[in-house]
């Protein structure tokens, strides 16, 4: 069956690969400050997770072999590692996009990519989207699920405006800048909590896009929630709809039930697929949420979350599998 793979990772192994795309000022800064890329090691501990491929030949060897995908969307998370110097963050984002184009997009017509942007400056994100977004090989703007301010906040709306003007969607990806623990309280003490932690954070972001009226302003925007799971979606929507009925006056621009905005505007990648192993419970999940309409396939190479997806696909009809494996992505990204 055809597939469009919505989340495959690539990353420069070190700043050396980005140097050709950075000014000599930044090269000196990186050298003097001892800034190193660590492959987002707190998210993908090198002892247990394979590093993302840093060149086309490793990528093609692993990903573009059998079965051959029709398209692959590359997500380079290196931008998530940058610290808060907004100028550095913007410069590195540009460098990454240039590197991805030259190293990957130029080499294979099946490859697509996310536009990496600064996550500390909406202005700079807009500039970068304008700089590279018209290139049809870029299909979405990559945002980290962890943020200082929820992504739906009005301060971020220029990013969505620029994205749509450039024909781009938004990819909301697990993890983000390391810093004080991203929880409601304080530090986590285990990787397990951090790994799971992307899910509650993604849920909060989903709420924000709807309540802040992002989809009222940008009604053709789609957000692909990537590597944050999806089995949590239905209960969240039950609660969101119920609470909205009581306090809708706080957000009167939300004209329909929140769940309707969510199923229309969000897609969720299939990795990780953390599912019940009992077929009855799995069947129930398929009743509770619209899997064929809202999921979109991703291998998440080289990250391995187990094989929950195959259990799910077994329960779907041929047509439903087609939608998940490539149809939804084709529609969202305009890939013929």
């Amino acid at each position: 069956m055809d597939e469009i793979d919505c989340d495959v990772h690539c990353a420069p192994a070190s700043f050396d690969e980005l140097f050709p795309y950075l000014s000599d000022y930044w090269r000196q800064y990186i050298s003097e400050a001892g800034v190193r890329l660590n492959g987002l090691s707190y998210a993908y501990p090198p002892g247990v997770v394979e590093p993302a491929p840093s060149n086309y030949s490793s990528l093609s060897e692993w990903v573009l072999s059998e079965p051959e995908p029709r398209f692959v969307v590359l997500n380079c998370l290196t931008g998530f590692e940058t610290h808060r110097n907004p100028y550095f963050s913007a410069a590195v984002a540009s460098a990454i996009n240039d590197w991805v184009r030259e190293e990957f997009l130029e080499r294979d017509a099946r490859l697509r990519a996310s536009v990496v942007v600064s996550s500390v400056s909406p202005d700079d994100a807009v500039s970068e989207i304008k700089r590279v977004g018209e290139d049809p090989r870029f299909v979405q703007v990559l945002l980290p699920v962890r943020s200082d301010l929820p992504w739906g906040h009005k301060n971020n709306h220029p990013i969505f405006e620029a994205a749509r003007s450039a024909g781009l969607q938004v990819g909301l990806h697990a993890w983000g800048r390391a810093g004080k623990a991203p929880t409601p309280s304080g530090f986590t003490t285990t990787y397990l909590e951090d790994y799971f932690g992307n899910q509650p954070i993604a849920q909060a972001q989903v709420l924000s896009f709807v309540s802040e009226g992002v989809f009222e302003r940008f009604d053709d925007l789609r957000v692909v929630v990537t590597e944050c799971g999806f089995a949590w979606l239905a209960p969240l929507l039950w609660r969101f709809d119920k609470d909205w009925k009581g306090v809708w006056r706080e957000v009167p621009w939300v004209k329909r039930r929140p769940s309707e905005y969510v199923v229309e505007h969000f897609r969720f990648t299939t990795a990780p697929a953390h599912l019940p192993d009992h077929p009855v419970a799995l069947g129930q999940l398929l009743e509770m949420m619209d899997v064929p309409g809202t999921l979109t396939y991703a291998s998440d190479y080289p990250h391995d979350h187990g094989n929950g997806l195959s259990l799910l696909l077994d329960q779907l009809s041929e047509e439903e599998r087609r939608r998940v494996m490539w149809g939804n992505a084709a529609a969202v990204f305009g890939l013929a």
Partner: protein, 148 residues
């Protein structure tokens, strides 16, 4: 059943009365020269609907651009705040489609997919999920009369 609620002159605009009729509690409201009757029981979880706040509409043509409108008048349940049109009993928190379904794409081989994202239904409030029971109230010979 005709129930005399009060003499007109002692029921000014802006006030309400709760009356018991045949085991049902019903709220009678006067707004200007109009009268409304609505069951004092929220269809959601049975709260005393007619003790709630009477509110006009809040509309917004975009995020942050909210304003009040006098119409339609709604009664908000004093518990969860679910609101019902005082005249028709209709609530407007419904869903455009039964069950939650995405607006997916039907694909045909070789078709161009670029603009295939189906347009969503227009963004306006959808009736539902409940309708509160309403009653006719009129003025007869200077008395406010509820028909329940």
């Amino acid at each position: 059943m005709r129930v005399v609620v009060a003499p007109l002159r002692s029921f000014p605009s802006g006030e309400r009365r709760i009356v018991e009729v045949g085991g049902r509690s019903i709220g009678v409201f006067r707004v200007g020269e109009s009268f409304f009757g609505i069951r004092n029981r929220c269809p959601h979880q049975g709260g005393p609907l007619c003790l709630g706040h009477l509110l006009g509409d809040a509309v917004a043509d975009g995020p942050g651009r909210a304003r009040l409108s006098e119409d339609p008048l709604r009664i908000a349940c004093p518990w969860h705040g679910w609101e019902y049109d005082l005249d028709t009993g209709q609530s407007f928190m419904g869903t455009a489609s039964p069950g939650v379904r995405s607006y997916g794409v039907e694909l045909s081989p070789g078709a161009s997919l670029c603009d295939e994202l189906h347009p969503a239904p227009p963004r306006k409030r959808i009736p539902g999920p409940y309708v509160a029971e309403t009653f006719e109230v009129n003025v007869e010979d200077e008395y406010v009369v509820l028909h329940a």
